[in-house]
Amino acid sequence: MERLVIIGNGIAGITTALEVRARDPRVRITVISSESKYHYSRPALMYIFMGHLKFRDTMPYPPTFWEKKKIELVHGYVEEIDSSDQKVRLASGTAFSYDKLVLATGSKSNTFGWPGEDLTGVLGLYNLQDLEKLEQLVPNASSAVIVGGGLIGIELGEMLHSRGIHVTFLIRECSYWNSVLPDEESQMINHVIRAENMEIVPSSLLAEILPDSTGRVRAIVTEDGREISCQIVGLTPGVHPNKTLAQAASIPTHKGILVNQYLETRIPNIYACGDCAEIQNEVEGSSRVESIWYTGKFQGETLARNLTGERVTYDPGIFYNSAKFLDLEYQVYGTVQKQNPDDTHYYWCSKNGLHSLRLVERGGALIGVNLMGIRYRHRTCEEWIKQKLSVKEVLPLLGEANFDPEFSKRFEPEIVAAFAEELR
């Protein structure tokens, strides 16, 4: 390989570039992005808006780093991929030829063809451009409705709330992020949202967004006819793979850009990783799209190894994720499914309702750990799950996993006492 071109400078694309460079000092690497020249941390978007950080603070590597690593950064929009000539062409007319091409084009915000979804004042939260739009909207807004809960919804809610805008969440489930979280944790989030004087309208679907006379958002209407006035509508009902470019180049896609376990598309010398990829497992006949930060990083690593002479399949290992709902921290290790008859749940919640631990056992082995307001060590939890320890075996070890700040109240004695009671 002489020349590697990567489209997209998010975490997946950049990890690929850095890991390839670490293995091959000679290959020419070009990373093209239409969003920004420099890689920044997408999960930090909210902190730029809230004034915690400046844009440059969110860059994981300083601008000089890229010269040192000899990685060429191009700020431009790829208009076309010519897979027979092995070339990509930018809107500016510049063309880059490649030996290997990586598509790391990320996601797009979901929309469902709602009437009024193109009005001024309607937006998602995905990239820097969304942030600019939001900055323009905020001075003339006093209230906002966020449609669809989830991890991006809560971020957008916190952002708007920090600027004194009244926020209402319109959610499909009866409780926040209840499609993923078990009832108790989900209700805990409802409480912290309401404690900040934000509103949740549960079990509601968006029917329509209403304009004022100037074409700006005036209100939304729910499917059951309720009208809520607002000047900003945040659409955050999830994201879907951005496969536009791949489709135009006749690279096979389904939900996302189809790749095998080695992250190869069906077209020779073209690969995909991160949010945009749909990874197929031919043996199991299954496929998956993963759109979280950590898996983007893993996929980038796997792909880099495959690009530099190894042949490894993508193995995300034991699942983990973490997030923050306003001031409430959330961590999950392994599998925590809401309703699976095979699973036994052990759940403990502190008296003030702001700290909880859930252990999930299947077939006598721990398979998942869910934490709210308590931090546990990643490697320790992973080890328990890998070693298939039972909850009974894990209990005496709980204290070792605690990662809370020094002098924090330790809940383990209470938790252990409660679970030991249940186990008896």
Binding site: P43, L53, E329, P396, G399, A401, P405, E412
Partner: protein, 469 residues
């Protein structure tokens, strides 16, 4: 499920209270500055009892400022709220920051060169201010106030007022509550009230929270002689200074890292952690700043060690070794490092260069503690697995300019000489990835956090007992 209900009081009435306290603070400050006008002050003195100016300036400002802070935080939920830090002028090098910087710098220049300036015909500008705190000095120390007592009063008020702000700001985090209470206590009790009380008892002036080489003269021959000659208390003071500097410092740093001093005890650190908190993100994170830091701080350490050694050598040689040269080295160090660097630049430039300029680039005590911390200490900042999202909050809010995320995103622990262990990186991390820990020196000090090698909890025993029952 019972949940703590966070009552948000009526925003309008809260706003009114905030405004009231804010006006009180401004009036107190205005009176304080207005008193610099001698005619006005003389008039005031002629009509009011002597302690009234103190109450109307220090008293009113302190109480209103505390009320202002309290009303700002009432009704907010506990948690990290850095909203607007990088967009508001005062904390992001706006015009307000420049004005504040110039004012503090001017104050320090005047303070350190007060005698010279007044001798050179400048107005004795501080005279009314010294007068204002005079009743307090007489009460505490049974002595008239001087410019240093004025400085001590201002310094202590700043730490107390802004310390209360820190307590509100980090009320969800016991580490920050305890270390803030600790610096507030050390400053008020050990660095303000106790020295005044010692003066009242006609004992030598001594600060139990400062040690050589930060308080460089505590191990100089002159101080040693005068302390020891002054009798029992003085002898204790000299040995306290020597033992803390030479024995306690390495031992405590081995167990806890340099934080035991820099962000729990030290007065310079105390000011940086309280009054300097709004400016902590202004520290430069560049590699050039890091290189400059290492050169400067270690050079200053070498210089002060050399001066100390020379002074003692000179002493044993019957003060004949270098003649007046050692004396001038000592006074030059006092002028350029002690006064100009630590005071004028160190504090005056808070709003422009961040709160730890002196601690990072100048303090020889920090240099020694840093060497111990880097090479022989159980302290490290541990990174939790692969959870870093590279958001940059940790690096941004590191007052020492450490690029924390550069380590965190690689899953490496942070073991850096300059880290003062303030713990803010761990507090601002939105994914709870960082933890300050004291663990075994040999196991996993530099690599990321692994199995509970570090914090084996007491409750393991308790757990087993529950089990066996």
């Amino acid at each position: 499920m019972s949940l703590v209900q966070i009552h948000s009081s009526n925003p309008k009435s809260r706003h009114a209270t905030t405004t009231l306290f804010r006006i009180g603070t401004y009036i107190g400050l205005l009176l304080f500055f207005a008193s610099l006008c001698p005619r006005l002050y003389e008039f005031f003195q002629s009509v009011a009892p002597s302690y009234l100016p103190l109450l109307l300036t220090f008293g009113l400002t302190t109480l209103s400022a505390i009320g202002w802070i309290a009303s700002l935080y009432t009704g907010t939920t506990p948690g990290i709220k850095h909203n607007g830090t990088q967009t508001q002028g005062i904390s992001s090098r706006g015009i307000g920051a420049w004005i504040l910087g110039v004012l503090i710098t001017a104050f320090y220049v005047y303070l350190y060169f007060y005698q010279d300036l007044t001798a050179a015909g400048f107005l004795p500008l501080f005279a009314p201010w010294i007068d204002i705190v005079d009743p307090l000095a007489r009460l505490l120390a049974n002595a008239p106030a001087d410019q240093w007592f004025l400085y001590g009063s201002l310094y202590t008020s700043a730490i107390l007022i802004m310390g209360i702000r820190m307590l509100y700001r980090y009320r969800h985090n016991r580490y920050h509550i305890l270390r803030t209470l600790s610096v507030m206590f050390c400053q008020l009790g050990l660095a303000f009230l106790l020295p005044a009380f010692l003066r009242k008892l006609q004992q030598p002036e001594f600060y139990f929270t400062y040690f050589w080489p930060l308080k460089y003269d505590y191990l100089f021959p002159d101080s040693a002689h005068s302390l020891i000659q002054s009798g029992g208390v003085g002898v204790f003071m000299f040995f306290w200074g020597a033992v803390m500097a030479l024995i306690a410092t390495p031992v405590l740093t081995y167990f806890f890292g340099k934080r035991w001093y820099c962000s729990w005890v030290c007065g310079c650190g105390g000011l940086a952690e309280t009054a300097g908190d709004p400016f902590r993100h202004l520290s430069s994170k560049s590699e050039r700043a890091w290189i400059l830091e290492r050169w400067l701080i270690h050079s200053i350490l070498v210089i002060i060690i050399l001066i100390t050694v020379l002074l003692w050598a000179n002493e044993y040689a019957g003060r004949s070794l270098l003649g007046g040269w050692t004396y001038s080295a000592k006074s030059l160090y006092g002028l350029y490092i002690g006064a100009i660097f630590s005071g004028v630049i160190g504090v005056g430039f808070y709003p422009l260069l961040g709160s730890r300029v002196w601690c990072r680039f100048g303090c020889p005590m920090a240099a020694i503690l840093g060497i111990f911390q880097r090479c022989f200490s159980r302290f490290r900042i541990t990174v939790n697995g692969g959870q870093c999202i590279s958001c940059g909050n940790c690096s941004t809010y590191c007052e020492m300019g450490i690029d924390v995320k550069a380590y965190a995103q690689r899953g490496e622990n942070i073991v850096r000489a300059s880290c003062v262990g303030c713990g803010v990186c761990a507090a601002v991390c939105p994914r709870g990835v960082l933890a300050l820990e004291n663990g075994p020196v040999k196991i996993g000090r530099f690599s990321g956090s692994d199995k509970g090698a570090l914090r084996i909890l007491k409750d393991s025993v308790l757990t087993r007992r529950i089990y066996e029952a």
